[in-house]
């Protein structure tokens, strides 16, 4: 096991991009195979969680790399969602790749628009402005009512899974099992690609410059990093990812409605980021899994405690849990799940430095 670990870490140093690509393909393939054994509902939840994970990846870059907080990414998600919904109603035959690329581009464009004044804002000002943007999303959708159908949802045409998947599953193409597996597979592949790009970006020149901005603005400026540019790029990337995630979300849900993309969604996204671990990419995946299964856990909790889901407590259980989690994680374990695991592993290495296999043979 440790031999494998060191082999990977050596390879990582020599060919970072190639290693990341290989690992991404490996893990994505494993996840794809797993979807074959999952039931229909789990696949659907997984697909939704993957869409969230893409959004959280973007948020992770914004917060982890440049140190800004956005509470508007739920709204950016909504913009991607509406881009996909409106486009696919008029052009149902567009390939999924093109539709999702459109969602990403629209997200990035609006992100640039909102991000330009954001370069002037710091910390709480920026967060406050993005809250205002999140609250302004629903009115914005109403203003463009002729395109967006106002408050009413836009139904998108159903995705038809390819024939080979249907024959693999042994169910007809239109069956729920095949459709949900297809949705999960699309989402996993998109998340894999998004993850790969983000991993490279994090370790690129731009990513390094941004982490320097987060750690020390003065040092960053002295080192020649343009603060406004770094901030606006980070904001745009996170909005682009939110747009992509929102587009994916619409494909999975089969509809887009403005009330989905409210302030509560932005707060949920932030809490998922914090729970998973700010500044870690695996934290975003953990956050996606948490949201994918949260409804199951809440249902289980309600069944155990006998709280009706229609009562005041039951209806607000999610808000209570996520709000409490946000506070407790930030106060007690600000690194989040992935960050804490990494921290513990690093401490272990410090305590018992594992020597290289070649050196263990050396008798003391």
């Amino acid at each position: 096991m440790s031999t494998f670990f060191f082999a990977v870490s050596d390879l990582r140093r020599a060919h970072p991009v190639l290693t990341r690509a290989t690992l991404t393909v490996l893990f994505t393939s494993i996840a794809l195979v797993i979807t074959y054994f999952l039931d229909s509902v789990t696949n659907f939840n997984l697909a939704t969680g993957a869409a969230y994970a893409v959004v959280i990846l973007g948020l992770s870059f914004l917060t982890g790399a440049s140190g800004q907080v956005s509470l508007g990414n739920g709204a950016f998600m909504g913009i991607g969602a509406y881009a996909v919904a409106i486009w696919s109603v008029h052009h149902a035959t567009t390939p999924i790749v093109a539709t999702l690329a459109l969602a990403t581009a629209v997200g990035a464009g609006v992100g640039l628009l909102i991000g330009l004044p954001a370069t002037r804002l710091r910390g709480p000002y920026l967060a406050g402005m993005t809250i205002a943007f999140a609250l302004a999303f629903e009115p914005l959708v109403s203003v463009f009512g002729t395109w967006t159908n106002g408050d009413a949802p836009i139904q998108t045409p159903l995705l038809s899974p390819p024939g080979w998947l249907a024959s693999l599953v042994g169910q007809p193409t239109s069956s729920l099992t095949t459709t949900n597996m297809w949705l999960a597979d699309i989402s996993i592949v998109v998340t894999g690609i998004a993850f790969f790009f983000m991993a490279n970006l994090f370790r690129s020149r731009t990513g390094r410059a941004m982490r320097l901005v987060r750690e020390n603005e003065v040092a960053a400026e002295l080192a020649g990093v343009s603060l406004p540019r770094a901030r606006v790029v980070a904001f745009m990337v996170s909005a682009a990812y939110a747009g992509l995630g929102g587009g994916l979300f619409t494909l999975v849900q089969g509809s887009a409605q403005s009330s989905t993309f409210n302030l509560a969604l932005s707060i949920t996204l932030l809490s998922l980021l914090v729970i998973g671990g700010i500044g870690t990419l695996s934290g975003a995946l953990i956050g996606g899994l948490v949201i994918a299964y949260s409804q199951n856990w809440i249902n289980w909790l309600e069944a155990q405690t006998g709280v009706s889901s229609t009562s005041g407590l039951g209806g607000n259980l999610k808000g209570i849990i996520f709000g409490l989690a946000l506070i407790l994680v930030m106060l007690l374990a600000p690194l989040g799940i992935a960050g804490t695991i990494r921290f513990v592993i690093l401490q272990q290495f410090k305590k018992h430095p594992i020597s290289r296999p070649s050196q263990t043979a050396d008798p003391q």
């Binding site: 907080v69 509470l71 002037r120 809250i131 302004a136 203003v143 005041g312 209806g315 209570i320 946000l326």
Partner: protein, 313 residues
């Protein structure tokens, strides 16, 4: 004169000022906390909403107290409930500062933002869990019927006057407290120069708590007068979300350091909201506010009423 007072723009101006009082008060409370602790309290609106629930759900309740064999029955009228709401607001402010905010001083900028946002979500969900999400209409002792002048309506009712007067009273009390009392001097000193104040014997930690208590009390007054408007804004968990967002924009435009700036900008935004709703569409209110914020921050990043603080290498 009558025709002037009953005209449409004057009516909008009057109702705008009435509506703007709430925004101004929330903006003022944000500035109070920002000046004291340099934390932007995202849960300000939610804290005020929660305090209002604690007080206003007592409305029309009875409490029988047994004092040495004699039963006293208290009928909770409107003013009792207002008093309870404000007391609850003060208490929530103090508890929040001691329990949630105290561990956050000196931490990275993002930590208080995340915690206060979590607190916002928690309070709204808790309010929904305890009191339900059905909006509650609150009756005040004042009439909601607008005055008449020469057969036409002036868009102003006794209840509106009550709301404006309550705002003015709060603003004047806060101003007097800060300017003319020993406590006010200590509060200002510990906000401007905490180290020096500590050396001079000011208990800075206590001042921070008092700052939060005061701000939370002001917020509670804002939520009370907002929901004391009959059917326009019934009490419900997200009732303070939109006023908070506009109040934040107003406070940021006025400069987060200036209480007067926040109050004036808040009332100005109330007037803007009324005109936009009347002549355009209420959907544009937040969009225009956001646009105004972006515009002002591009030109004067420190806000209209604040002195420039240079942040350069």
């Amino acid at each position: 004169m009558d025709a002037f007072l009953t005209s449409r723009p004057i009516g909008d101006l009057l109702s705008g000022i009435v509506g703007g009082t709430v925004i101004g008060l929330v903006a003022l409370s944000l500035v109070l906390i920002w000046r004291a602790t340099h934390i932007l309290n995202f849960a300000q609106g939610a804290m005020a909403m929660f305090a209002t629930y604690i007080g206003m759900t007592r409305l029309q309740h009875r409490l029988t107290v047994n004092v040495i064999g004699i039963h006293f029955t208290v009928h909770f009228n409107y003013w009792w409930c207002v008093a309870i709401s404000i007391l609850a607001g003060l208490a929530i402010g103090g508890i929040t500062e001691r329990v949630l905010v105290r561990p956050l001083y000196g931490k990275p900028e993002i930590n208080p933002i995340v915690v206060m946002v979590g607190y916002l979500a928690l309070l709204e969900a808790l309010a929904g869990a305890i009191w339900g999400t059905i909006p509650i209409t609150i009756q005040t002792p004042f009439s909601f019927i607008d005055w008449q002048l020469g057969g036409k309506t002036v868009l102003l009712s006794p209840n509106d006057v009550y709301r404006v007067v309550a705002t003015l009273v709060v603003a004047i009390v806060i101003a007097l407290l800060f300017r003319f009392t020993n406590l006010g001097l200590q509060l200002r000193a510990s906000a401007v120069a905490p180290e020096v104040s500590r050396l001079l014997g000011v208990r800075v930690g206590r001042m921070l708590t008092i700052g939060w208590i005061l701000a939370s009390g002001v917020g509670a007054v804002a939520a009370v007068i907002l929901t004391s408007s009959s059917f326009q804004q019934p009490l419900q968990p997200p009732v303070m979300e939109a006023p908070f967002a506009i109040a934040f924009i107003a406070a940021a435009i006025g400069g987060l350091e200036s209480p007067t700036g926040a109050l004036v900008a808040g009332i100005a935004f109330g007037v803007m909201e009324q005109f936009v709703t009347d002549y355009l569409n209420s959907n544009y209110v937040l969009l225009i506010a956001l646009g105004a914020l972006i515009l002002v921050l591009m030109i004067r990043p420190q806000g209209l009423f604040s002195k420039r603080v240079v942040r350069r290498v």
